[in-house]
């Protein structure tokens, strides 16, 4: 070994040294050194690049879909029993409209899994697990990626594009609970099994048109779970226009029209003697929703300060037949049925202001108008208005304030106080303290 090295050195000395000694000036040497240094750097860079490349996950799991988990928990202090919650003046929706139970409780945990299926479709599944350990499919749909000319098709179960807030998941809402109008007209939040076709116009001003057809598996359709029939149980048409004002304000306004034909849509009430009864409605239900949203941030940079104004107006017409006490035995001439029609409306307006980074305050005003309700059985004198107490004229209101703190875009802690006058006979003072966090994939939020 030693010998070999020695020989090599000798050879190098005899061949190389004379050349160096002969010609190279100091300057050329320096240039050479610089070249060697640069080469060395390039080799190091290349090495680093190779290391980086090799660090990338290359396992089977690299193709796993994006997974995210929403956790939330709540402390509720309510002056009224949430089990007796009702919105007077409006047909009960059988939806999940009551406030959370008093005291500490776990909110819905939400597991979302999404990925591009292939070059044609994207798939999304969102499953919620209630604090009572029930799993439900909140959304599960496929969406086209490769249709051109501004068309997209969505199929499966998804939140209907009726109004604005209905399409947004509860964890991204600016208040703990839904507006009263959503509770009264959509059973808190309307999700249906269906197909949606949407078209976005090729104009600088945002404009879209869309249509949804669905099973009609929940309020305002009925019965619960949808009818046993071919075709569709509900239809929804919607359009939005949106754009920017100047260099800090973005706006969008939308109009939607939801039409369904409920058949034997039941709800619980009591009669004039206080005995529980089940009534049912069969007919047509048509809901118009006008919504508007405005978001402001200096130079569209929401980090330090931003403001959001949001409002929706709902108007519903229902007409058909109302059956009183469906359980009346046929022996005593069976349940009584008469005509029914109603025109009702409701709206809310809310503003949320982030005044310093991470802190937001918000105020919301809710109002429902029970409008006109004509009950055939009452008009004919067969029954009295006292037999339909929930439908008695009443205009519920609610005022809500909240403050929340978001140390990062993945966590939020919120304190909310509401004075809820949904019941005609009592005011519910509600205090909520809530956390919402999101783990995993970085989901983007809709405007």
């Amino acid at each position: 070994m030693f010998k070999k090295n020695a020989v090599a050195l000798a050879v190098a000395a005899t061949l190389g040294l004379p050349c160096v000694a002969m010609a190279q000036s100091q300057e050329e040497l320096r240039a050479l050194r610089e070249q060697v240094r640069q080469l060395d750097k390039r080799v190091t860079d290349a090495e680093q690049a190779a290391i980086q490349a090799s660090n990338r996950p290359a396992a089977e799991s690299a193709l796993n879909p994006a997974v995210s988990l929403i956790l939330n928990g709540i402390y509720a202090n309510l002056s009224q029993d949430p089990n007796t919650y009702k919105i007077n003046g409006f047909v009960p929706t059988n939806g999940d409209v009551a406030p959370p139970p008093r005291g500490l409780s776990l909110g819905e945990s939400e597991l979302a899994i999404a990925a591009n299926v292939d070059h044609m479709f994207r798939g999304t599944g969102i499953f919620s697990i209630s604090s009572e350990n029930e799993i439900s499919v909140e959304e599960a749909y496929i969406q086209t990626l490769a249709l051109s000319y501004g068309f997209t098709i969505k199929a499966g179960r998804f939140f209907s594009a009726v109004g604005y807030q209905n399409q947004i998941h509860a964890h991204a809402w600016d208040f703990t609970d839904a507006p009263l109008a959503m509770k009264a007209f959509l059973g808190n939040q309307l999700s249906d099994d269906g197909i949606q076709l949407k078209w976005v116009a090729p104009t600088p001003l945002y404009f879209d048109l869309g249509v949804e057809v669905g099973r009609g598996k929940s309020f305002p359709s009925g019965p619960d779970g949808g009818r046993d029939k071919n075709g569709f149980g509900s239809g929804n048409f919607f359009t939005h226009i949106g754009g920017d004002f100047g260099t800090g304000t973005a706006w969008q306004t939308g109009l939607s029209y939801l039409t369904t034909s409920p058949q034997d849509r039941v709800y619980d009430d009591v009669d004039s003697t206080g005995t529980p009864v089940t009534n049912s409605f069969t007919g047509k239900s048509k809901l118009w929703v006008l919504d508007g949203i405005l978001k402001w941030a200096p130079n569209f940079n929401p980090t330090d300060m931003n403001f959001k104004l949001q409002g929706e107006y709902f108007r519903r017409k229902e007409n058909g037949d109302l059956t009183f006490d469906t359980a009346t035995p046929p022996a005593s001439s069976g349940p009584q049925t008469g005509g029914y029609d109603s025109t009702q409306s409701g709206w809310y307006l809310q503003g949320v202001f982030q005044f310093v980074p991470m802190w937001r305050i918000g105020y919301r005003y809710d109002r429902l108008n029970s409008g006109t309700t004509n009950i055939g059985l009452v008009d004919s004198g067969a029954l009295t208005a006292a037999d339909f107490p929930i439908l008695a004229k009443y205009n519920p209101t609610r005022q809500t304030v909240m403050v929340d703190w978001s140390p990062s875009e993945f966590s939020r802690i919120r304190l909310q106080y509401a004075q809820d006058k949904a019941r005609s006979d009592a005011t519910d003072n509600q205090v909520f303290l809530q956390y919402i966090v999101s783990l995993g994939a970085h989901g983007a939020h809709k405007f």
């Binding site: 980086q52 976005v200 973005a250 706006w251 978001k295 990062s408």
Partner: protein, 301 residues
């Protein structure tokens, strides 16, 4: 319902009848890519920059106006490496435009064509808002701009072969001027070698690497987490022991934290242009680097 349908049909026929613009519609996620597309495309492209230097590209609302612009785009140019993950995927699914979806020729991610720095070895949200693919702010190294320009030239030719000659000649001319400018900037930036610098966010890493500067700290305690008083106090202590020469921030950052550190630790602070349009002088890519180097030299001297 019939009226709605009739209205819809009438409206769509009007909209469809609008003449299509002749130029290639480019949607640039950040102003630097808009400027680059303009350099290479000239009048063959119509560039829309989705953001300005005053906006944090990490935090952009998926506004209706942006969906409308992506709807008609032929080419989308973004930094990539998950910089735009909070808004671009949503805009893409909403737009119904197949030309610019991931995997289509019209989808161009600039950071794919350069070696990325700061690829995290451990990914955990407790470490801040990390980009698993590495630091996405690749445009702050002028050599990266050259590499990306070459890749973008190929892409433009692929999408719009009819104007290939224009793209080739404009790209050649740009790269010649750019290489000459890099040579000049290298000389100018020589005094910055080894200079310790405090950044707001790690958005100058590529520049620091190119100029041979030394990153001595960041105002953000962790990437994407806004400066906190306790972290700033730590940083002030650290600056007392081994002072940095300059504190920099971007136009979209609030200057308060930088000024606080600057006044306590007696280190000058500079707002860097960060991207095209960030300062008066940063009118184009050349101006961006002229001004970046100029501002640093003026402070460090």
């Amino acid at each position: 319902m019939k009226t709605i349908l009739r209205f819809a049909a009438a409206l769509s026929s009007v909209v469809i009848a609008l003449p299509a613009a002749a130029a290639l519609n480019v949607f640039a996620c950040e102003p630097e890519w808009g400027a680059l597309a303009q350099e290479l495309g000239g009048d063959k492209v119509s560039v829309y920059a989705a953001t300005t230097a005053l906006q944090d590209p990490h935090r952009i609302e998926a506004r209706p106006s942006l969906i409308a612009r992506i709807r008609t785009a032929d080419l989308l140019i973004c930094s990539g490496s998950e910089l735009e993950i909070g808004w671009i995927p949503l805009l893409l699914t909403q737009s119904g435009n197949d030309k610019v979806q991931l995997g289509s020729p019209g989808y161009f991610e600039a950071s794919q064509y350069v070696i990325k720095l700061e690829v995290p070895k451990v990914i955990d949200r407790a470490l801040g808002d990390l980009h698993p693919g590495g630091n996405p702010h690749v445009h702050t190294d002028p050599r990266n701009i050259a590499k990306i320009a070459a890749a973008l030239e190929d892409r433009l030719i692929q999408i719009d072969p009819a104007n290939a000659d224009t793209y080739r000649s404009r790209s050649k001319s740009f790269l010649e001027r750019w290489q000459a400018a890099i040579a000049r900037w290298e000389k100018e930036a020589a005094p910055l070698k080894g200079v310790p610098i405090v950044v707001y966010h790690r958005d100058f890493s590529y520049f620091i690497n190119w100029a041979g500067m030394r990153q001595a700290g960041s105002l953000e305690p962790k990437p994407g987490i806004l400066p906190t008083p306790s972290h700033l106090a730590e940083l002030i202590d650290q600056m007392k022991r081994s002072p940095a020469k300059v504190v920099v921030y971007s136009p979209y950052n609030s200057p308060q934290a930088a000024e606080f550190l600057s006044s306590r630790a007696n280190i000058p602070t500079v707002m860097m242009p960060f991207t095209v349009g960030g300062t008066e002088k940063a009118k184009d890519l050349f101006g961006l680097f002229d001004d970046t180097i100029g501002r640093l030299l003026a402070t460090v001297k």
